[in-house]
Symmetry: C2
Subunit: 112 residues, 2 copies
């Protein structure tokens, strides 16, 4: 892969997670969703921080304890501190949603 | 900033470099170019590795010793090892070129 929008499927039975780069204390991956959501009642609870940007499609995130969904469109990014429980409520059903996620261990400055 | 395509200018006298996130051993930044190129005869020669993706616009990179330009369109990415001398030959003059650059110190696996 040399393009984040290359080889996008027309439909997808499950989300796809593809590592792009793996360094000391971080991991960069492309995620492709196509209508998937986190299964009901399940939450992500991650050991590492995650900075993630949605590059195409649309999606919404829910953070535990927050009433409102966090709706993402192309270019929107969010920084998710480790152990911040969250789930994907929905992703675009008509177009692939391409995410670029940077998982990392240590934050030196607060995300802006 | 919470969107990589937010606050893009209609023109730009100089390239803009904006830090998004700064962790242990890496730095993530947004770069906006609008027709700029690396000044004639100059090369980037960086202490850190750089993974960079072009998200909008168009640009071309030249790597020292290589005959052909490396033309980038939206979604194209390239991994530039530390001290790999390179320069930006041109960027789109009609639209802003938005880059997302991950500067990092240590690579655990070869970039794919």
């Amino acid at each position: 892969m040399t393009n984040l929008f290359a080889n996008l499927p027309q439909s997808l039975p499950e989300e796809v997670f593809q590592e792009i780069l793996h360094g000391d204390g971080f991991r960069l991956e492309r995620i492709i969703s196509f209508g998937q959501a986190t299964p009901a009642g399940q939450w992500y609870d991650q050991e590492q921080h995650e900075w993630v940007v949605l590059l195409s499609g649309a999606a919404s995130l829910r953070f535990e304890g927050e009433e409102d969904l966090h709706v993402l469109h192309a270019g929107d990014f969010v920084n998710i501190p480790a152990h911040t429980r969250h789930r994907v409520e929905w992703t675009d059903e008509k177009l692939p949603s391409v995410w670029l996620a940077l998982h990392y261990s240590k934050l030196e400055m607060p995300a802006r």
